[in-house]
């Protein structure tokens, strides 16, 4: 008897399983609202990024207070994924299938975005302006619903390579990098742009793990190799150590510091301003800890925004500039889309940004996209630290032009 009940339940379940329904209108869009999804690590090992989600939420609050975009308010739904890919899949499926968002925006992390890459494209739901520096997000041919945002790590590697080839005769490059994708991408960018000369120019490569206590011994090895260029691919904690140690042991190479750690307040000051002198970096955002922007209208506007809408947020944290700028990029896309907020049109407008300048981008750096160009920000400029602030020099480098 029981067996038969169970069996009939099974058959009924198999027979009646509903076919996936087709939606007529764009989910998440009403006459007065557009619903946008987001995931971010608010907890867990990568929770330092959590502030990006908070600053974006705050910025959309400001937009809504000012009347929204084309009469629609932004309903921004942000979930914690703890930087765990399975959780990202679950949360993004919740956003798309249950919360019915129009699209997801600035989801953070390389492995986390990889986990939803295929899904978003199967769902034909935009995965817009993802917060990662990996190169794979600008592939409109195979993934027409996914678009990157910031300059890729590899592109930055190209810039440094150009600089070395142009300005350092008899260059002998020593590299210190974090042993993961981020570090390897930077190294690959440098090697690609050095071309055949790479084998001869790069004399030593040292790595560290995020869990290592210090990088002191690596710096000593780099010095002993006789390198005269130091390609420093480290996150802030290790950048501080590397700069200090380089100075302490009296090594004076051409010091190329990746933009990840170029904050004056977070890295250079703790490392010592004297020790940081003459370091070269590449940037695309204004450094809020750099005194030269004190009277800049873009900076003042950002500061006023932070004080009013996100008073808990740190005003020396680059991430709060990052999220602010990305949110402004999205607002431009939505403005351009006008009354047609279909997913296809959102994607089309995201791919039609022309020379868009944003207040916290360095002067001269523009956002540009096209049907085959899914890399919005591709420009960076080199800057040298003069002991107090970054001094931009040279042309604005554009990774899209080889």
């Amino acid at each position: 008897m029981l067996r038969r009940t169970v069996l009939s339940a099974l058959i009924a379940a198999l027979a009646l399983a509903p076919a996936p329904a087709m939606a007529a209108d764009t989910p998440g869009v009403t006459a007065t609202e557009i619903k946008i999804g987001h995931t971010n690590p608010y907890s867990g090992p990568a929770s330092a990024y959590g502030t990006i989600g908070k600053v974006i939420t705050a910025y959309f609050k400001k937009i809504n207070d000012e009347g929204g975009i084309n009469g629609r308010k932004i309903n921004f739904v942000s979930y914690d994924d703890s930087y765990s890919p399975p959780k990202t899949v679950e949360m993004v499926r919740k956003l798309v299938e249950q919360d019915q968002v129009a699209f997801v925006f600035n989801t953070l992390g390389t492995p986390t975005n990889s986990a939803i890459h295929k899904y978003m494209n199967q769902q034909k739901t935009p995965q817009l302006f993802v917060a990662t520096g990996a190169t794979k997000w600008g592939d409109p041919q195979n993934f027409p619903w996914t678009m990157g945002w910031q300059p890729t790590y590899q592109a930055e590697g190209h810039i440094f390579a150009q600089h070395v080839l142009k300005t350092v005769p008899n260059a002998k490059v020593g590299i210190l990098y974090q042993n993961d994708d981020y570090g390897k991408d930077y190294v690959k960018g440098l090697k690609d742009a050095l071309g055949d000369a790479a084998k001869k120019i790069i004399v030593i490569e040292q790595t560290y793990e995020v869990t290592d206590p210090t990088v002191d011994s690596q710096i000593v090895n780099l010095k002993n190799s006789g390198a005269n260029v130091f390609y420093n691919v480290t996150i802030p904690k290790f950048a501080v150590q590397a700069i200090k140690k380089t100075h302490d042991i009296g090594w004076k190479p051409v010091h190329l510091l990746n933009s990840v750690s170029s904050s004056v307040g977070v890295v250079l000051k703790p490392a010592g301003l004297e020790a940081s002198k003459d370091i070269v970096t590449a940037r695309y955002l204004k450094d809020v800890t750099d005194p030269q922007w004190k009277n800049d209208p873009g900076y003042k506007e950002w500061l006023a925004f932070m004080q009013k809408y996100y008073p808990d947020g740190s005003t020396v944290d680059d991430f709060n500039v990052y999220g602010y700028t990305a949110a402004q990029g999205l607002v431009q896309v939505l403005k351009q889309a006008g009354s047609d907020l279909s997913r296809a049109n959102v994607m089309k407008q995201a791919a039609s940004l022309k020379d868009l300048g944003l207040p916290m981008l360095l002067p001269g750096i523009k956002v540009n996209t096209g049907p085959t160009d899914f890399y919005p920000i591709e420009q960076e400029q080199l800057a040298k630290f003069d002991g107090e602030r970054w001094v931009n020099f040279g042309e604005i480098y554009d990774a899209s032009k080889k």
């Binding site: 379940a13 890919p85 899949v89 919740k94 990889s114 993961d180 390897k184």
Partner: protein, 320 residues
Amino acid sequence: MTPRARAVGVAAALAVALALPLFVSNFRLFQFTQVAVYAIALLGLNVLTGYNGQISLGHGAFYALGAYTTAIMIDKWDVPYPLTIVTAGVLCLVVGFLFGIPALRLEGLYLALATFALALAIPQILKYFEHWTGGSQGIVLSKPNAPWGLKLSPDQWLYFFTLAVLVALFALARNLLMGRTGRAIVAIRDNAIAAQAMGVNTALYKSLTFGVSAAYTGVAGGLSAIVIAFVAPDAFNVFLSITFLTGIVIGGLASISGAIFGALFIQFVPNWAQDISKAAPWAIYGIFLIGFMYVMPFGIAGAVRLALARLGRRGTAARA
């Protein structure tokens, strides 16, 4: 509880599980598939910790091993996915057994620390063998479609598939634990010396228990790779192992049904916590955890057993 009542309970739970796809969306079904996957992993850990008394803080490593076995076999060699699950289980059985041999010398907290090292090491090991594992980029898989022309969405198919594996493994575990072997396993937990005196080969049983436990967790890992359709080292951090341990304690130590209750808890409670407070979800989670432990010291399964026993007593009293 009488055997008859237990059978009715199991049948009812199974009927609910089978009918679930009729009532819930694909997304919810995906969540319940994850519950089933967790339940298998928790049962594996419960066999080791609950029944045999060996504490493992490193079962996330076996989960990862299973997940990567499945992912690599599908990605590199196009092996049919059911076969990869079996392989994941067998591989973890062997590795777990081998790990169990040196672990024999370690008791209680010392074993917990040794396994904890395993959990700490696994993400870095996975990144090291980049050629196979795809490094921190991970491996992207495709969700399988329903076979034999069944009119099921991939989510529905995977749900039934996982459920079938779960039922088979639970039945197996029940047979194992209720018999001679099970008594030996429990006897070792309660008093190893006495067990040995009665002729139980404690060394062999402990290693075997470790192997079986790892195999269950490996199968769960393999299933998770297919359900999520992606594996990456960041998914298998230390926190996962601790989550498993939380799951079996909340669900009920040394209880088969406890694995399911525990799985429901670790799947849904963090989400509820986030719904309640975005600012401090883990504080809310902590409150839930303390609350559960305070109200149900023997886990959810223990509380259910107690409630049923009380009801049963009242029933007999009324009849008398």
